[in-house]
């Protein structure tokens, strides 16, 4: 009889929601709120600190390092996502063909994505080494250069090098997404286009690309979120150097909050990412909703 009472009324649905509410609230919302609040305090490691309102933010807006960091984060995200999308799509189109060994190449392609980032970051660190880079070595051997490339030792080259490493790691995310997308496009559409005598280029733009657009939105937004918050590549390869030229918001927040002990200020730096991330998350949810 007791079972019956659970079946009626709002009790059961509420009970069923409790575990997810506790999980989401406890693991996501609570720490997030704490983090945001921390950004309004002058807490350091070892001192709980006082509430100081917007002081951290006010200071950070005058901090030249934060300005460089904001620029870096924006560039890093924009440039790499564009390249990842273009190259990922191109690779997906190639791998969508049935050629000898296509299964093998599809799995090879996943490698950058499945290798733990720290390991691939270490590999890149060696590839970009000022003394032992095999790229420099090869170019010198070929007679194209007469000295090593200073990949990470000057601001702009370091930024570009990190972007290349990030693109390399992020391409498979797009490729795999697009491969799945391509395979869900009905063959009939391409066949009809072929019968109508449409060129390959036109078929791509008017059928393939159009049908992939909703997927593109989702892939781009998620990739932007991952890139925006990239930590491991930067921290392993440059630690934000030379002279803070390659910091992203998250690496700068970490450097100042954890080794530096300025918890409040670090939280405030992380706070700068929130509006962007919220916007991206909202866009992602909106895109998902519209597709459903």
């Amino acid at each position: 009889m007791r079972g019956l009472s659970l079946d009626r009324g709002p009790l059961l649905p509420t009970l069923l929601l409790v575990p997810s509410a506790v999980l989401l609230g406890g693991l996501l919302a609570f720490p997030l709120v704490l983090g945001v609040l921390l950004g309004f305090k002058d807490a350091t490691i070892g001192e709980a600190g006082n509430f100081i309102g917007l002081d951290n933010y006010r200071y950070l807006l005058t901090d030249p390092v934060l300005r460089i960091t904001a620029l870096n984060t924006a560039l890093y995200t924009l440039v790499t996502v564009v390249f990842k999308l273009a190259l990922g799509l191109a690779l997906a189109l190639i791998l969508n063909q049935r050629f000898a060994g296509y299964r093998f190449w599809r799995s090879v392609l996943l490698l950058p994505y499945v290798v733990p980032t720290v390991l691939s970051a270490f590999a890149w660190w060696w590839i970009l080494d000022p003394q032992f880079s095999f790229i420099s070595w090869g170019l010198i051997r070929l007679g194209i250069l007469d000295q090593h490339v200073n990949f990470l030792g000057s601001a702009w080259l370091a930024r570009a090098s990190l972007m290349v490493a990030n693109v390399w790691r992020g391409i498979p995310f797009f490729t795999v997404g697009y491969l799945a997308g391509l395979q869900s496009i009905p063959k009939e559409l391409h066949e009809a286009a072929a019968i109508d005598g449409a060129s390959g280029w036109r078929t791509f733009w008017e059928i393939t690309w159009l049908l992939l657009l909703p997927l593109t939105t989702i892939l781009t937004i998620f990739s932007a979120i991952f890139t925006f918050t990239d930590f491991q590549l930067i921290w392993t390869i440059t630690r934000g150097g030379p002279a803070n030229a390659t910091h992203l918001f998250v690496t700068l927040a970490y450097q100042r909050a954890i080794p530096g002990g300025a918890l409040g200020e670090g939280a405030a730096i992380a706070g700068f990412t929130l509006p962007f991330l919220a916007l991206l998350a909202w866009a992602a949810l909106d895109a998902l909703r519209r597709q459903a």
Partner: protein, 433 residues
């Protein structure tokens, strides 16, 4: 405070084996009587050489045998100790003892057990502490010792003797000016020098602090409030580093801690600053280079005294530990001659102890090339000089303020004035009242 019985120091000069055998035989009453059913957790940095952890484990086992107190030791990468220690301090739970670095204990002095009895006892027994060790271990705020200094991973200038001779220097330079002359001559002979200007936590911070200090510069005045970096001595130091940078191998702007080791062993550079690790790596894999390597203290500039910075480690006990006496006894035991002697010897000079008497250990003279590392603690200035150790000094170091000032003025092409002004602004923020 209990009086520490003076024990005959048996291990001196007898070598590792003898020290170990005697150590094992000795069963003495503990100075600090461990609590009933005590057990300890230690968090420390993982060894720079394998023998470090081997000996540490063996010594810990001896401690457990002598006192019945089990100790679980967790080894983590040296750079990760600070965040973990801070977490333990903030949460009030975690390891009983931590072997941390630099200013760590001064960040949360109120959360640490007063270890004056251990520190003063060891000091009396073993020739005293170097001045800098006292600065690191004693809290002026608490008016007692908050940590027991362990030692430092001293750095020296590591150079190729044949190339230095080829460049016309039979003796290694004693002044920064002569060092620059040597660097120029080396570069002219196709053997550039290399000093890390990337975010190299050890090597980069160490040499840039030396150069700032040796020209008389400092981040902050004695009051730990007045920022003093944008002043004449800093500008002179920057001008000097700009000239030195011109003699360096390309790419130092991206160097992290391991880069100079690799470049040196590959013969790409003739001179760099490092712990003894390059030499031992060479001894193992490139004996010809090892033969050609020698070490020198950093030159002394206008300020007229040695001003080196090196990673400095100390052991501290949290008040949240349920077994403070056992923890004190463990630290005392591990730093006593029967244990520390073989331990330091086995590390081949990677770590220089903070107690003066350990300069007599065989490791410092067995191979004369290790001798310059022996007196490294005596040549050190504490991090945050001329201010006091603490959260602000720790933050300035962790944020590479001094290092980045030099990197800005070289790698990033900024003027000396602008680079110093940027450092000054950030330091003002860090040291704000």
């Amino acid at each position: 405070m209990r009086k520490i019985p003076r024990r005959t120091v048996l291990g001196w000069g007898l070598g590792v084996a003898a020290g170990r055998a005697l150590g094992q035989a000795a069963k003495v009453e503990p100075v600090f009587k461990p609590e009933k059913d005590a057990s300890l957790r230690l968090l420390r940095w993982s060894g720079f050489v394998k023998s470090d952890e081997e000996l540490w484990k063996a010594n810990t086992k001896k401690f457990t045998e002598a006192t019945g107190v089990p100790v679980s030791v967790e080894y983590i990468t040296w750079e990760d100790v600070r965040p973990k220690a801070a977490l333990a301090a903030n949460l009030g739970t975690g390891p009983d003892i931590i072997m941390g670095w630099y200013d760590d204990p001064h960040i949360y002095p109120q959360k640490l057990v007063d270890v004056s009895d251990v520190a003063e006892g060891l000091g009396k027994q073993l020739g005293g502490w170097y001045d800098v060790a006292r600065t690191y271990g004693y809290s002026n705020r608490m008016r007692h010792w908050i940590a027991v200094p362990v030692g430092g991973t001293v750095e020296c200038l590591t150079y190729r003797t044949s190339w230095t001779k080829e460049a016309g220097f039979d003796e290694f330079p004693r002044s920064p000016a002569d060092l620059l002359k040597l660097a120029r001559a080396l570069k002219a002979k196709g053997h550039p020098v290399g000093f890390a200007l990337g975010h190299a936590v050890g090597d980069g911070n160490n040499w840039t602090h030396w150069v700032l200090w040796t020209f008389g510069g400092k981040a902050v005045e004695k009051d730990s409030k007045t920022i003093a970096i944008a002043q004449k001595p800093s500008l002179e130091a920057i001008a000097y580093v700009q000239e030195l940078y011109a003699q360096m191998v390309p790419g130092v702007g991206s160097w992290l801690d391991p880069n100079n080791n690799r470049a040196f062993l590959a013969g790409e550079i003739s001179l760099t600053n490092n712990g003894i690790s390059i030499y031992y790596a060479a001894k193992k894999d490139f004996p010809q280079i090892a033969e050609d390597i020698n070490h020198s203290p950093f030159p002394i500039g206008p300020v007229g005294r040695a001003t080196e910075l090196a990673n400095f480690s100390q052991a501290f006990i949290f008040k949240h530990s349920r077994f403070p006496n056992a923890a004190k006894e463990y630290i005392r035991f591990m730093l006593s001659p029967d244990q520390a002697g073989p331990w330091v010897d086995a590390m081949n000079g990677y770590v220089t102890p903070a107690l003066k008497q350990y300069q007599d250990l065989p490791v410092w003279t067995k191979d004369p090339k290790a001798t310059p590392f022996r007196d490294g603690i005596a040549r050190m200035q504490h991090n945050g000089y001329a201010g006091e150790p603490g959260q602000q000094a720790a933050a300035a170091l962790a944020e590479f303020i001094v290092l980045d000032m030099f990197a800005d003025a070289t790698v990033n092409g900024m003027s000396a004035k602008d680079a110093a002004a940027r450092a000054e602004n950030r330091l003002r923020r860090i040291y704000r009242g």
